[in-house]
């Protein structure tokens, strides 16, 4: 007997993600999922971002890694609540991990929640975390063809952050080609260029966040 179906494989993850999204919507929390390769500068961008917020802002970070709480320690210096999600091997965050790490955390009236995904340009793609937007980072040391090599990840991006632009004089990276490749995979995406070292472009990034609140 053949039974035709249209059942989503990740329906359980999607169910949890939908409940999280509903919660953020109700609480007017802007939730952003940051995805990139390891070493593209997700944590550095979050450091500069947190440093740019006034102390009274209601901002928190959940940061995912396979091992260590190094990122949570780096980020907790800025005075905002930060929790580490240690995936213990898993190459991505899923909605259930986010839900579990929110338990018992007094972060009810957040303006912004950052989810720093595990450094990986493939695996996080399929997992909805209930975020309002997905930002994908690409640093200029990685090569302009990353969007073409990892179309799934860039296709789901709302914003692409081109990072480490201070290194442009030292690496053979064409910003024009990188932008073109990003737009080929996702024509509607917004793109910002930043350097977390010099601070260039961070004003644009911060204004982009504020415009979404």
């Amino acid at each position: 007997m053949r039974v035709p179906l249209e059942r989503k494989v990740l329906s359980e993850n999607d169910r949890v993600a939908a409940a999280l999204r509903e919660r953020w919507h109700r609480n007017r929390t802007f939730c952003i999922n940051l995805i990139s390769s390891p070493g593209s500068g997700k944590t550095a961008l979050l450091e500069r971002t947190l440093a740019g917020f006034d102390a009274g802002r209601r901002v928190a970070v959940l940061t995912g890694d396979i091992q260590t709480d190094n990122d949570a320690r780096r980020l907790s210096r800025y005075g905002f609540p930060v929790r580490q999600i240690c995936t213990g091997g898993a190459c991505h965050l899923d909605a259930r991990m986010v839900e579990r790490h929110l338990e018992g955390w007094p972060v009810h009236d957040l303006e912004i929640l950052f989810l720093e995904n595990v450094g990986n340009l493939v695996c996080p793609t399929s997992y909805d975390l209930g975020e309002a937007v997905r930002a994908v980072l690409l640093s200029v040391t990685e090569g302009e063809d990353k969007p073409l090599k990892y179309p799934a990840t860039f296709h789901h991006a709302d914003l692409v952050v081109l990072n480490k632009i201070d290194l442009l004089p030292y690496v053979p990276f064409s910003m024009e080609l990188a932008r073109e490749n990003v737009r080929r995979v996702q024509p509607e995406v917004e793109i910002v260029e930043v350097s977390c070292t010099t601070g260039a472009g961070l004003g644009t990034w911060m204004r982009w966040i504020e415009s979404r609140l």
Partner: protein, 121 residues
Amino acid sequence: MLLQYGLHEMSIAASVLDAVRAERALHGGARVTRAGLRIGELSGVDVESLRFCLEVLASDTELAGASFEIDCAPWTRRCRTCGAEFRVVEARPACSACSSTDTEAVGGDQMELSFLELEEF
């Protein structure tokens, strides 16, 4: 440990088998002989890895012996100018019919269980 130290295809495979089990339960718990999957080109899933993970995870369970038919769904966009739906080749988003660049995403990121074949009682 397999689930932890795997490819993400391993966790996807575990979710596939959960979905198969849930559907099987809805149909009286009959033995599953075949399961069909529709996996989009943009889902970030490697089909051969997924197949391997499905076979590993199904072995020694009530789903052992089931075969998996994996159908790849192409990356597609729709043209806002002429309405044509077209397959995206080499990440070129322009319409293959009229060359318009005003196009929107349609498909390619699906991960669905598309059918089950169950043994008749």
